[in-house]
């Protein structure tokens, strides 16, 4: 009664809604980077919305099911195959004991979410099943999956979702190859030279290949210049340095003015680089679906616009729940 990992894929990990309340100890929230797609996959199956799933990145895993169950895959376009036969995504699929599931490499988007009926069953650590690999915490032995790992399933929902039920197209997220992400300027933005603060929002940046769950590093824009200053005690000599401080999830720092980094849900919780803006909560999912070398442009919004976007995001989630509830 388990799922055996034949091939782990590029970076597959167990994730859920993440853990709150430990960021002050350096333990970040973790959790599915695209929360919308993760919840959609669970809702399709009739699972609890935040049941643990597998987050599959670019190159999905190959899994052998020694248990009959239902699965659903949402998020990045990574053609799933059962025993080699192509299957639709965004749809409830039936798995028989002995079946093998694998994926073609991502054709669009970065992360697909594989939900199984009953969810991946693991002990919660600090209130969550999410993997925080840097701290060897949570998930499957605190790490990404490896070949030979055995995953067990939780109790299946009392009413099984009908096989073939699918996510309406209108509720599927698009996966563009370049996108505009909304940010709230602030934090240490005042330390930028005005021309750099303006240019940051005019240029297109591209996602660097080392981007991961900790952060997205961006290339291709003009280096940013900070205002010259006398370094405050303890801040460090470079004008992009600050006295080490906490980093918001989604905040954008620019070490030495060169390559901006957007921190995601496995963020380092703090450090000594000035942050100049923060991606609004409604757009964090979008960032995490960008592949290396894809384009990103930033649009500055104010708090009122950020909160409106938040309401839209929540309304979308509500629609999901109604459509699949």
């Amino acid at each position: 009664m388990h799922i055996k990992v034949i091939k782990p894929g590029l970076a597959t990990s167990v994730q859920d809604a993440g853990r709150n309340g430990y960021y002050h100890l350096g333990i970040p929230p973790s959790g599915a980077l695209d929360q919308y797609s993760f919840r959609a996959a669970n809702l399709l199956l009739g699972n609890a919305e935040t049941a643990a799933v597998l987050e599959c990145t670019l190159l999905g895993p190959q899994l052998q099911f020694n248990v009959a169950c239902q699965i659903a895959i949402c998020g990045a376009t990574m053609q799933p195959r059962i025993n080699g036969q192509p299957q639709p995504a965004h749809q409830v699929l039936s798995i028989a004991t002995g079946d093998t599931l694998d994926f073609l490499p991502a054709a669009a988007g970065m992360r697909a979410y594989l939900a199984v009926s009953g969810g991946i069953d693991l002990a919660e650590v600090l209130g969550s099943r999410s993997t925080y690999a840097l701290g060897s915490l949570g998930g499957y032995q605190g790490r990404r999956l490896q070949a030979g790992d055995m995953l067990t399933l939780g109790a299946a929902p009392s009413t099984a979702a009908p096989v073939g039920r699918s996510l309406p197209t209108a509720l599927q997220r698009s996966l563009p190859s370049k996108t505009t992400v909304r940010v709230l300027p602030g934090l240490y933005a005042h330390r930028l030279r005005p021309e750099s603060a303006t240019r940051f929002y005019q240029e297109q940046w591209s996602v660097s290949s080392e981007s991961d769950r900790t952060g997205y590093r961006l290339k291709g824009g003009t280096p940013l210049q900070f205002q010259p200053r006398e370094a405050p005690f303890g801040a460090g000599a470079d004008p992009s340095n600050i006295v080490d401080a906490g980093y918001p999830i989604g905040s954008i720092q620019v070490p030495a003015g060169k390559e901006p980094i957007i921190l995601l849900r496995d963020a380092v919780s703090g450090g000594g680089y000035a942050m100049i803006a923060t991606v609004i909560s409604a757009d964090l999912d979008v960032v995490a679906q960008l592949q290396p070398n894809q384009g990103i442009t930033f649009a500055a919004v104010d708090m009122q616009q950020a909160l409106q976007a938040r309401q839209h995001y929540q309304a979308d989630l509500q629609q999901l729940r109604q459509a699949l509830g």
Binding site: L10, A11, L58, S206, S209, N293
Partner: protein, 80 residues
């Protein structure tokens, strides 16, 4: 004689050599087997090897060492 295009399966950064100061995996014009490693793609600090997939002669690379690469992009041509 037929020409085969070798595609990248992953996006990332393309490298023709295993490390910056090493020799290239293969030179243009050399003989390759299907399992011969001809380059690698770095993504999320992991290096994923690309094999020739066909035996024959590696005609040319379409990417330079260190170039950005998209999934599906042609990396090299092999003639057999």
């Amino acid at each position: 004689m037929s020409e085969h295009l070798i595609h990248a399966t992953l996006p990332g950064t393309f490298y023709r050599r295993p490390s910056p100061d090493a020799a290239p995996y293969v030179a243009e014009g050399s003989q390759v087997e299907a399992a011969t490693v001809i380059g690698c793609i770095e993504v999320m600090k992991q290096f994923n090897e690309i094999t020739a997939e066909h035996s024959g002669r590696l005609l040319s690379f379409l990417l330079e060492d260190g170039d950005a690469v998209e999934a599906g992009q042609v990396v090299a041509k092999v003639v057999s």
